[in-house]
Symmetry: C2
DNA sequence: TTATAAGTAAACCGATCTGTTTACTTATAA
DNA sequence: TTATAAGTAAACAGATCGGTTTACTTATAA
């Protein structure tokens, strides 16, 4: 397997640092030092720090959703089981010692400008997560799959923030229990 | 009524700017310019920027919770109504054009150091909000008031983040509907 | 009136920020 | 072998960062 290109390595390093320390707090110099890449090379690949942030979020968007879906598919057989597995996967995520909340939620906190690309990609990420949940809900033949997707996604967001801020990874369990009720309701008990 | 002291005015300005633009992105110079206060005066009142951040969060903690509780008390008569009113108050908050999410959630995203005072006060804020919800739940004579408080607080967090990131203030309504079910369940239908 | 405290404006400090440039060093492929 | 592309290290630039200091100006209260 080919070793990752400089560009990819920069993005990987960026994801790690932005996740843990945030976006403004992470300086380019530190990032380059960590990545072992020269400044010139970085600015050959990215026009600006903001473009690197954007690329990092783009990459993370794909990787995270892919891993998430794979984990969900592996953990549940039926659509209903998969819907519930969402919260088990989240629970595992929360217990990772490198869990620093959701990169996109954190990004929005630092970039409030309405039509910023960073905001846009964050909004998109949540939309794509919603699409996946809505798809599962449709497969489960629930009455109002989109409504259920709204509900389960809201629960997931709540669990993420509660795990992050209140240091309670078990929020995933609370969310799962509520989710179970909602799913049962939606499937016409 | 006495005009606010310089200290209070600085804190007010700080809250506004930190809310909208975040903590690292808000420079002291801009903040002082906005507040119309000299740098020397600021550093007479606060030892550092971080101390100002801390004071701002402290102040916001008190003001926000006070306003929140008053609004909830005004909107609901019975404990159950008050529990539901939480989400109506949140809805109003989300529709404010100066809504930039929760200051404390945003703060955590920028300060990941485990025992940072900024993290601690954020955790505390969420705890105090929980305490209030748990109190209402007890007044409502539900079976497991603490469990219900966990659930409703999780819903509130989810609604906040959904309103902020996905630009959907109506997340408050979704959360309220789920909350209603949970409350009914907990009151032994 | 006058000492004192609290304020302002602005220069200043060293550090750090994002971003550019220069000079040199690899690889790689024709 | 040799031209080319891609890399490094480091100096540099100008702006901005948080924070200090100086000189001057108010208020206020004894």
């Amino acid at each position: 397997m080919a070793r990752p290109s400089r560009r990819d390595h920069l993005i990987e390093t960026a994801i790690t640092l932005f996740c843990e320390h945030g976006y403004h707090a992470t300086g380019i110099d530190l990032l380059l030092d960590r990545a072992g890449v020269s400044k010139k090379t970085m600015y050959q690949h990215f026009r600006s720090k903001e473009e690197l942030i954007y690329a990092a979020l783009r990459q993370y968007d794909g990787v995270f959703r892919n891993n998430f879906m794979k984990a969900v598919e592996a953990a549940g057989k039926t659509p209903k089981e998969k819907l519930l597995a969402i919260f088990d996967v989240a629970h595992t995520w929360f217990n990772d010692n490198k869990f620093f909340g959701c990169m996109f939620i954190n990004a929005i906190g630092e970039y409030s400008e309405k039509d910023s690309p960073i905001r846009e990609i964050s909004r998109q990420f949540k939309q794509l997560m919603w699409n996946y949940v809505a798809e599962l809900a449709k497969e489960a033949n629930v009455k109002e799959p989109e409504k259920l997707a709204n509900e389960l996604c809201l629960l997931l967001e709540g669990a993420i923030v509660t795990a992050q801020v209140s240091q309670k990874p078990e929020a995933a369990i609370t969310a799962k229990e509520i989710g179970k009720k909602l799913i049962d309701d939606a499937m016409g008990e």
